[in-house]
Structures are given as C-alpha cells and as structure tokens.
C-alpha cells in the first residue's frame, strides 16, 4: 500500500511542477505581452493613480494633474492649452504621450532614478507618490504675443536668448487643445484625434521644431558669413546683374526682374544683403565655394540630424548640390535647402552673440516633488560661427536690412535691431507653385535682455512678389521682441 501512496505523491509532485512551469510562462515569458495588452487597463490605472508633476512657465503650470472623482484618479489639464501645445504635447489614454510629456516622462511620472529617495519616503510615510516638475525657459509675454500674432495663419515663431540659447518662445499655428486628447473620455479623445489628423492645416505638427521650409533669402546670412570668413568686406564691390547666367546652365533673376543697383551690373556686399539681391548672392555663393558655404552652414547648426532641446528637432539641411548652378540656387535658400524655424532663430542668435552660437534648450530646471531643484541647465556653447570682429561686420549688414532695407517694419525705438527677410518659393507635391512663405529672422541687441526671433508664415506671400517676408513676418517678429523687452524691463 505504501508503494501506491508514494506513487500518488509523485504524481501530485508532477502536477505541481506543471503548475510552476506554466506560472513561469504566464508571469515571465508572457508578462510584457499581457501587461501591454490593449484590454488590460491595469497599467493605465496605475499611471493615472498618482499625480503627475507639472510643466511650469515662470511659476505658472501649463500642464498639471488635478484630482478627479472617477476611476482614473488624476486628470491632466492644460490651462492655456493651445498656446503651449507644441511644447507640452499631450498625455493620452489612447494615443500615448507626446512633446515634453513624453521626453520628460521619467521625471513627471516620478519613475526617474533621482526620485528614488522620495519614493521610498512616500511609501513609509504613506504620502501619495508624486512626480517631479519641469520649469521651462519660455517667456510668457513673448509666447502669448507670438500665439496671438499667428492667430488665423499657418506658421511658427521661435525666440531665443542669444547669450544662453534658452528658448523664450516656440509657437506653431494652427494649434490644438491638448486637454481634449488628455481627457478621460475615450469617445471624445478619439473624435478629437480623428478631426485633428484629418485637418489639412496639420494642427498636430509642431512646426517650430519639426517643420522644415525652404528658407529663401534668410539663408543669405549664412552665405554672407561664409564670404566674410573668406576675406570679403561689407563694402567690397561684387557682381549684381539683373539677370545672372548660371555656370552650369539656367539663369537667375531677381524678384520681378528688378535690378540690384543703379548701374544694373555691380553692387556691394552690404547693399546686396540690405535689399536681398538674388543674383549677387548666387554669384557670391558660387565664388565662395560649396565647401565653405556648407561648413559655415554646419557651424550655424544645420545638417544636425540628431538634435533635441529635449523635444526632437528636425534636421535643417542644404540638400544635395550637384553643380554650380544648383549651388547658386541654394545660395539664395532655394533648390533643396530646408530649414526649421528654430534653425532660423539660431542664425540671428549667433550673429547677435558676437558669433558664438549657444545650444538651444527648453528646460530651465528639473524639480523634485517638494520643488527642490534636481538640476539646472547650464548654457553650453555649440560653435563659433564667426570671429567676433567679422561678426561685428555681419551685425552691421543685418542692422542695415532693418534700418533701410527690406526689414524696416522690424524697427523698435531705442533698440539696435538686425534681421533678414525671406520670401521662399515653394510648390505642392505635384510641383505646382504655391504662394511663397514669408520669413523673418532677426534680433534686438538689447544690452541687458537681447532676443533673437524667427518667424515663418506659410504661403503668406503673393507669387512673384518678394515683399512678403518684410511686410508680413517682420512686424510679428518685432511684436514678439517688443513684448519680451517690455516684460523684462517692466519688473
């Protein structure tokens, strides 16, 4: 009888071993698959069980978690949602996270390793665990002015502090309200998502960092810098014909076939930039050489495909250039040249800051749940685009644009303002020409609170007319700079 009992016991042992093997399969092998199954709401319940940290601009939250009475304990709210949407991104039940909600998730959710101590204390004292907060470099006045100025238009505004690289404003238009995508109402989220994605004006596209446009004449600043470095002086006489035959085929005209000077043949470097002479800059780019222009563009931050602030930034590029005719086209910011609004602002910022380009950044401080500072971003130099003495000459040229050239609408009383307009030809996917984009990049060289701004307004111009950048984009840049300067001197 005992032998049979032992055999029964062994059989039971085998059954138990089968259970253990199967438990390993369920809880280890399939663990991630089960955890992330769309019908498993446990992870989301946990994620919404604790308050997420805030995203703060000048002491005011632009994204915050508020307690609710429903199953998901906390609701993400964006008090001034559309104004800051391209920075905050969304925090959605259905469509994951985006923007700073995504890049700063570790800190905001409280899972960051630097918060380990706080988490353990919370567990012992029984306080509700809370995420840390992020304080941004954004200036409210500049951001709000930019958002208001873009109302009803498609485009973007980026403003930088030239001395530090701190991003003072970044707005894309049209915008959207991230609160809707971050609600707890699945139907409302999905309806909003569908509507936003169907909108041909692409409200979800963070234009300031991720849209690239042909920069048009804005790129002439880069070519001018390359030429100065190559030994040209602002007053040097350079060719500026009404029509320029390009060396490898084709011709280059100015807008409306205007001539760049009284004699219709030559001009000076400073005058060519001031009135934005296409033929002069095409020839200047060809004469300076592709390598020199390319390396100068790289110093300004172009061709960087792996760039984040910490929001990821699309790479601006000169594109492929196969011959000197294409180099000529590229030198006036057409052909395959593509630039983000942030990149355009970085050009003015570098020129304003005596040729030193500072790395752009968006996060001023990272704060623990008790608001003690975990980390403060230290400004970092990215490159020296020009030696200070040559940069001084480029400043004169850009300031000439505003004082008596195409950018006069950017003038601000009692401020030294420099800039460059751009009116960039572009076409739709089928190659049909569209109204040109209006560009302006510039700076106010205030001795205490300098600011650099780039504005792009999509298809805001009239085909064949080069005044769009100066007429449409420059005033908005001026308004943003004025709002910032007023805000800074007001306190």
């Amino acid at each position: 009888m005992n032998r049979q009992i032992r055999r029964v016991a062994i059989t039971v042992g085998i059954l138990m071993a089968a259970l253990l093997v199967n438990l390993n399969y369920v809880q280890v092998v399939k663990s991630d698959a089960y955890r992330n199954n769309k019908n498993n709401k446990r992870v989301i319940l946990n994620e919404y069980a604790n308050p997420r940290g805030s995203i703060i601009v000048q002491g005011t939250p632009i994204a915050e978690s508020v307690a609710t009475k429903d199953e998901l304990k906390y609701l993400r709210k964006y008090p001034d949602g559309p104004t800051y949407a391209d920075l905050t991104g969304w925090y959605s039940l259905v469509y994951d996270k985006n923007g700073l909600e995504e890049t700063e998730d570790g800190l905001l959710s409280g899972s960051d390793s630097r918060l380990l101590g706080t988490r353990i204390t919370d567990l012992l004292t029984g306080r509700t665990p809370k995420g840390g907060s992020v304080s941004l470099t954004i200036n409210k006045a500049a951001q709000e002015k930019a958002y208001a100025g873009l109302a009803g238009r498609r485009g973007a505004v980026v403003a930088l502090d030239p001395r530090t690289g701190a991003i003072l404003a970044a707005v894309s238009s049209p915008s959207y309200d991230p609160s809707v995508l971050s609600s707890h109402n699945l139907d409302a989220i999905q309806a909003a998502w569908k509507r936003l994605n169907a909108d041909k004006d692409q409200p979800l596209l963070p234009r300031a960092f991720q849209a690239t446009y042909p920069p048009g004449s804005v790129f002439k600043v880069v070519v001018a810098a390359a030429a100065l470095k190559a030994g040209k002086k602002p007053d040097d006489v350079i060719p500026g014909p009404t029509v320029l035959p390009l060396p490898d085929g084709g011709t280059m005209h100015n807008f409306a076939n205007e001539s760049c000077s009284k004699n219709g043949k030559t001009t000076t470097l400073i005058a060519a930039l001031t009135i934005s002479c296409n033929t002069a800059f095409a020839q200047l780019g060809i004469d300076t050489g592709q390598d020199a222009v390319q390396s100068e563009a790289n110093l300004f931050g172009m061709n960087d495909q792996d760039f984040s602030v910490p929001l990821s930034v699309s790479g601006s590029t000169m594109g492929t250039i196969e011959n000197r005719s294409q180099l000529g086209q590229s030198s006036i910011g057409q052909f395959n040249v593509q630039m983000t609004p942030l990149q355009a602002a970085m050009i003015s910022a570098a020129v304003e800051n005596n040729g030193t380009l500072m790395q752009p950044y968006l996060v001023q401080q990272e704060l623990a749940p008790n608001l003690s500072v975990l980390d403060t971003t230290q400004p970092k130099q990215q490159s020296q685009v020009l030696p200070p003495d040559l940069d001084r000459q480029l400043q004169q040229m850009m300031e000439n644009v505003v004082s008596k050239g195409t950018g006069t609408l950017a003038q601000i009383d009692n401020e030294r303002v420099g800039g460059k307009t751009g009116t960039a030809d572009n076409a739709d996917a089928k190659g049909n020409p569209l109204p040109p984009h209006a560009w302006f990049t510039g700076y106010a060289a205030d001795p205490v609170h300098p600011i650099a701004v780039a504005v792009v307004l999509e298809n805001a111009g009239v085909t064949g007319n080069e005044s769009a950048g100066g007429e449409k984009a420059a005033p908005l840049a001026r308004d943003v700079m004025k709002a910032y300067l007023a805000d800074m001197s007001g306190r």
Partner: protein, 468 residues
Amino acid sequence: MTPPSGEVRVPTRRTAELILLVFAIAIVFAAEAIVEATRDGRVNRNLIVDSIVPLAAGVVAHLVIRRVAPYADPLLLPIVVLLNGLGLVMIHRLDLGLKQQSDDGTGPNFTGAAAPTQIVWTALGIVLFLLIIWFVRDHRMLARYAYTLALAGMFFLVLPSVLPARFSEVNGARIWIRVAGFSIQPGEFAKILLTIFASAYLVSKRDVLSLAGRRFLGIDFPRGRDFGPLLVVWLICIGVLIRGHDLGTSLMFFGLFVVLLYVATERVGWVVVGLLLFAAGAYIAYQVFSNVQTRVTVWLHVFDYPGGIGYQVSQSLFGLGTGGLFGTGLGGGHPEIVPLPATDFIISSFGEEIGLFGLVALLVIYVLFIARGFAAGLAVRDTFGKLLATGLSFLVALQLFVVVAGVTRLLPETGLTTPFLSYGGSSLLANYVLLALLLRISDAARRPPSPSKHSAPEPAVTPQAIPA
C-alpha cells in the same frame, strides 16, 4: 551517560508547532500592514483584527492539540493558520478594491465587506476543528459509521439539486443551500464524508476487490456485487453534480475515487479504467453541456472574447502578467478587476500582487501541507488511516491543481475554491474538518505504543556501547 532503558521517548514537537505558529502570524501581520499602508497610507484597526483572529484560533487549536493529539504533525496547523490568515488579508484587500470600484462607478455595486464574514467563518471553523479533534480520539472509529456518513454525504449532495432553484442556484450552479442570508455549499462537506466512506468501504472489501474478479484484456475487473455499492454512490455523485453544473467538484470526486481504488487494490488497472472513463465522461460532457463547451472555447481562444465569455480568464492572465516576477505589492495592483477575485480567482489576486516569487512560495506551502498528509498516510499503521490520509491529502492537491491550472489557463477553468485561502464558509469549515482528521491520523502515526501493550521492550542501547 546512557538514557534510561525501557522507554523510547518520541519528541512531540509541540514547541516547534508553537514557534511556527508565531512565525505564520508574523507573516500575516506584515502582509496586512503592507495592504493598509499601501491602500490607506497608514495602519488601522483591521491590522489587529485580521492578525488576532488567526493568532487566537491557532493558539487555542495548539493548546487543544497539546492535550488530545500530542504527537500530531507540527507543520499542518501553522500552515493552515498562515493560509487562512493570508486569505483574510487578501479578502480584506479585495473589499477595499471592490468598494473603490463601486465608488468609481466602474464595477458592480459594493454590497458589503466580505472579510468580517470570513472572520466569523474562521472562528466557526476552529470550533468545528476543536469538536472533531476532541471527540474523535481515534480515527478508526469513523470507519464504524461509514454507511451513516455516506448517507449524510449523499443527502448533502442531493439536497441542492432537489431544492427549488431560488434556494440553490448561484452563478448558474445549483450547489448551494441559501437560508436566511447564509449560503452553504453542502458539496464541500460531502466530499469529506464520502472520502471517509470510500476509505472504510475499500478497506473492508479490499481483499475481494483485488483478488476476486474477472480478467479481461489483462485487467482484473471486480465482481459486480462487490463493486456495486461503490459504483452506485459514484454514479449518484456524478449525476447530481452534473445536474448542479459543477464540473470542478465532479472532477474532484472522480479523481478521488480513482486514487483510492488504486491505493486500496494496488492495481494499476484501476487507473487505466479511471482515465478511460474520465476521457469518455469528458467527451460526453462536452457534447451534451453547453457550459462545458463554453469553458473549453474560453480555454482555447480566451483572447478572442476579451469582453465576453473570455473576460474573467483573460483578466486573470493580465493580472498575473502585470504582476510579473515580483508583483505590484499587496494593495498595489488591481485584482478586483477579475470577477470573483476572492473565491475562484484568489490565486490570480495573489499572483498579481506578490508576483511569481510570492505565488511559488504559496504553492510550496501547499505542497508541504500535502506532503505532510501523505507522510501521515505512509506512517500510520492501519489501512483505513492510510487510505483516509491519502484521500484527504489528494483532495487538497487535486483541488489546488484544478484551481491554479484553471486561472492560469493550463486547463479549462472549472470554478473551485482554493483550500483555506478562498472566501467562503463551507469551504473553510470543511477544510478545517479535513485538517482535524489529518492531525488525528498523524498523531496516531507517531504516537508510541502504550507501555501496557508493550510486554517486551527493546534494549535501549547495544552491548558494544556499554563502557567496559
């Protein structure tokens, strides 16, 4: 330097039992403290209640065992107190979760906490345990009442099936008696009564069953008149259980009878016959009963019905998977999402919150209990005791296997309680009876023969060991 001759001292191990008991209560205390800290942010009155009750129950049981079953196995009681205590902690934790769900409007209305009821059942279970261990001083006396107990067991089994559905049906299974707000599942008691009967019957017919018979296809079949009564009891059980739509209990009875027959007759043939009968029964049940088909469909294609018939098992798997290796911590998960989290699916509730490591530890504790039961069966001298201990241990083992396999999708889910852990009075009471019987048998197994019957004591020391 030599021990006194003439008497072999067998250690009673009662002190070990007490120490293990304190250890078990410490674990329960810690578990409840973690639940309260996680859910409420501080410990509260429940910590005391949920720890004191198992502690008091364990200590009282320990004192009585000291007196009436001093040689009983020292592991069994602490294991049961630990399991019962952890069950209380989880039931309390699920009360909190279910109430939360109800308040949020995302779950069924919360109709009242289950933990206080389970505490009452625990107390009643201990009382029943004490009565049995006090009055049943020798397990062999049970064999004398085999047919009476069988009748009582049959009555318990049949009663819910013949009562009107409003008195007996819960969640589609007609296995309950509901009177005055109390629900009793008489099948839980029937399973122990019938184990006693089957053991006694098989012992008395053992020789006939294993020797006399007709040989067919190399297997010895018993004569009809020897096997008849057992077959009748078995068929009635199965019939009643199928009418009650309770597959799990049918499976339990079936496995139990096959094992008891095998151990009693020492014939592998019975196992073969049993497995063939089981296969045939399973096939017929699948063809005839729609709820069997549903369970098999869920088993095979659970993720095809995430919001319908597969909801319960898929959520159980999600809970276990979310728990992963270490679990979410007690109170940190969402086991209340799974329907019936405190009864049929309490294993997934634990798996989600204490993880694979915790769940394996829990299973090991069960395996210890089952192994001690088998050990008692091996060591006890009388065949009735051997059969009864084996049968009772196998009941616990098979029930645990069917439950865990069901909630982890190793087998189709059948709907059984987890012994000692699950919420439910009948289950708890019946399992305390089972504990009392196992303790009684283990006491008989280790108890030294009384001196009066021992006329020729063995020499305590060998001659070589005597100093010159």
